[in-house]
Amino acid sequence: MSSVLETGDRTLSVLLGDLLPPDVGIAAMNTDQLVAFAAQHARTSQLEALQKIITGECTDASFAALDAPAREAVLARVRRKHLKAFADFFLLALQCYCLDPGVRQAFGDIPGAPFPAGRDVADGNLELLEIVYERGPIFRVPPPYPASETRLTFEDPPPCS
């Protein structure tokens, strides 16, 4: 089987469209972006492994040629029989997807690192603490040490700034 980096096989793009479909303000996941991300992290084998499994599950037609209900049935079988390979693939796709600036923007995760201006945290209402304060101390005061036990002190500690 040729590499997903080289083939014109549409399995990957159709698969990503099914797993991470377009949403308000978010386009479908870019296949090239995922392939590059996988290569950067030395995980191309995880893309190829799932592609191979899916191809093996599609006996009459290619995955990309199936209609949506048929693809859903194939994916359900794949998840049942090859859970780890499916999870590895999807977690890799999520890593690429959730770090995409457009996706982060759509979920309100921008501003964020590395430009946090505007990423403000509300102070919160400190008056809520009055009732806690009014209940008084909750720590225990230990009994004094026996007189026979001397406590170590350093009578002339050096000054500090």
Binding site: P21, Q95, D109, G124, S161
Partner: protein, 534 residues
């Protein structure tokens, strides 16, 4: 083997306690050299400066040295422990990755035997440490709010880290139950402090603070320590401590970055390598005089390892809590269940530490793995329902000392210099299990009281072994302790230990504030000794 110029005081380790001791000794004008196996970190490369920062926390900034495998790291065999060891090796040590949550031990934590009939009392107490807590707070730049009924008065704090909508929401939940809560103590500057800029919510803190607001010791203690003349040598991995003919510490052997071995003579040696690294070094320094490990006539080097089993509670809220914003570990906390109440079925207690919610990637991946966020058409709606709507809570359980929980040397595993690696033997006690179960249930209760529509809880969480304590315990009796009340080894009087290895008990709070206060206190003992007999 090359021989370096002798020094008066040699510190091994440049992390939380090594930095504090170096600064204090340097201020007193003493001749100090610190050897650190890691390097200086470049904040410009921290994950918080990158859009893919969340991913880096699972790779080169992972909390486990076994996953991270940076050049400075050494492997740790923790396969015999439900809790994996977390650390970081660099100038600043594990404070590079710590969340900055900075509570002190309670006064009762030093008198466990007297108050609760378990473990042992410490030979030092809260009152003795009080000036050192205050001094350390000034150096680290600790924020918080005075008036906390869980503690004796604490003054001089910077304004608290904003609790956010999340903290306010949970605070209302605590109030509905009549339970204690308070804004977190945080080693995070909320105003410019000693040359450090304030927090700007750049990232979650625990992958390194590129802003320099979080008080990792590379930006808090070390700049001032070096200004006072302390020398810091990086990429220097100590393999063993050497003895002279009189049985006193005479220095160390170490490997430099190129793998060359050096002999570093010193008149006094201070260990600051944490609760795993310090016993590892002592055990690796076995010699004819100490065949079972240096300073180990008591047989207690490596024993009584305490790790703070950590439980995790999560609540999902309909309201947007903006929980992804703010310092990850510092919002509010509760000590409602900190002091002993035997009607609960266990002794001692725990902290409830509110955590900010996960980032977008972690929300998506954990949601998928728990089958709460389905791939396909329901994906985006399910992710929107959770991102910024999740509250997390850590349950930090006090671990009592048990001699069978210990650090030994692995028979096969070594670091890149061929030095035997540590092996962890650890089991949760029944008391810890009961306490953890209690904390998880109370955590869910407060989440529900705050309005969570769904809760989840589990523990102990595996990659949370940050708090490494007890493996060279402090005590007045040489048969039952490795170091005395001054931090000096009973067996070798010019060998000191200043890290959390010396803890007699673990308390139920993050230990950095207390370990640094103890380190400063021990440093003053060294200074007094040097002044009386230079």
């Amino acid at each position: 083997m090359a021989k370096a110029e002798p020094v008066d005081i040699l510190i091994v380790g440049a992390g939380a306690t090594g930095a504090a001791v170096a600064w204090r000794l340097g201020q007193a004008g003493l001749d100090v050299l610190c050897l650190e196996q890691g390097d200086y970190m470049d904040p410009a490369h921290y994950p918080s400066t990158r859009p893919d920062g969340e991913l880096a926390s699972q790779q080169e900034f992972h909390v486990s040295p076994n996953v991270r495998r940076r050049e400075a790291d050494y492997p740790i065999n923790d396969s015999d422990s439900p809790i994996a060891i977390a650390n970081f090796n660099a100038v600043g040590g594990s404070t590079i990755l710590f969340s900055g949550h900075f509570p002190r031990f309670h006064p009762s934590d030093f008198r466990v035997r007297s108050l609760d009939g378990v473990a042992d009392d410490w030979p030092i107490d809260y009152q003795q440490l009080a000036p050192y807590f205050a001094l350390n707070d000034r150096m680290m730049g600790v924020s918080g709010l005075g008036g906390d009924p869980a503690y004796p008065p604490i003054d001089g704090l910077l304004p608290p880290v904003p609790m956010g909508r999340l903290g306010e929401c949970l605070g209302r939940g605590f109030n509905r139950l009549g339970w204690h809560w308070w804004p977190a103590y945080a080693a995070i500057a909320t105003r410019p402090h000693r040359g450090r800029p304030p927090c700007i919510n750049l990232g979650p803190c625990n992958t390194g603070c590129a802003q320099g607001a979080k008080a990792s010791t590379d930006v808090s203690y070390w700049p001032e320590a070096r200004q006072s003349g302390v020398r810091l040598q990086t990429r220097a991995r100590v393999s063993r401590i050497t003895l002279d003919a009189q049985g006193k510490a005479s220095g160390v052997l170490y490997f430099d970055a190129d793998g060359n071995e050096w002999q570093q003579p010193a008149r006094l040696v201070v260990l600051a390598c944490n609760g795993v690294g310090t016993p590892r070094l002592l055990l690796n320094s076995a010699c004819p005089t100490f065949p079972d490990g240096l300073a180990n006539r008591s047989g207690l080097v490596g024993r009584n390892l305490m790790l703070h089993p950590l439980g995790y509670v999560e609540g999902l809220f309909d309201d947007a809590l903006d929980s992804q914003l703010g310092p990850q570990g510092c919002s509010i906390y509760s000590h409602q269940f900190y002091e002993t109440d035997t009607s609960r079925g266990f002794v001692r207690g725990y902290t409830m530490q509110l955590l900010r919610g996960p980032g977008l990637l972690e929300t998506a991946t954990t949601g998928f793995l728990r089958r709460e966020i389905p791939p396909g058409t329901g994906f985006h709606a399910a992710l929107r329902e959770r991102f910024g709507h999740l509250a997390g809570m850590g349950i930090i359980v006090e671990d009592l000392p048990d001699p069978d929980n210990r650090v030994t040397l692995d028979a096969e595993l070594t670091d890149s210099n061929g030095i035997p690696a540590p092996k962890i033997h650890y089991t949760l006690s029944e008391n810890s299990r009961h306490m953890l179960a209690h904390g998880l249930e109370r955590g869910k209760e407060v989440m529900r009281a705050a309005g969570a529509r769904r809760t989840a809880a589990f523990g102990p969480v595996r990659h949370t072994g940050w708090h490494l304590m007890g493996t060279t315990r402090m005590g007045n009796d040489p048969a039952r302790a490795v170091v005395d009340a001054r931090g000096r080894c009973h067996d070798i009087d010019n060998l000191y230990i200043v890290d959390s290895s010396v803890f007699v008990t673990s308390g139920g709070v993050n230990p950095v504030s207390t370990m640094q206060a103890i380190a400063l206190y021990i440093a003053d003992g060294i200074i007094a000794r040097k002044r009386s007999a230079p």
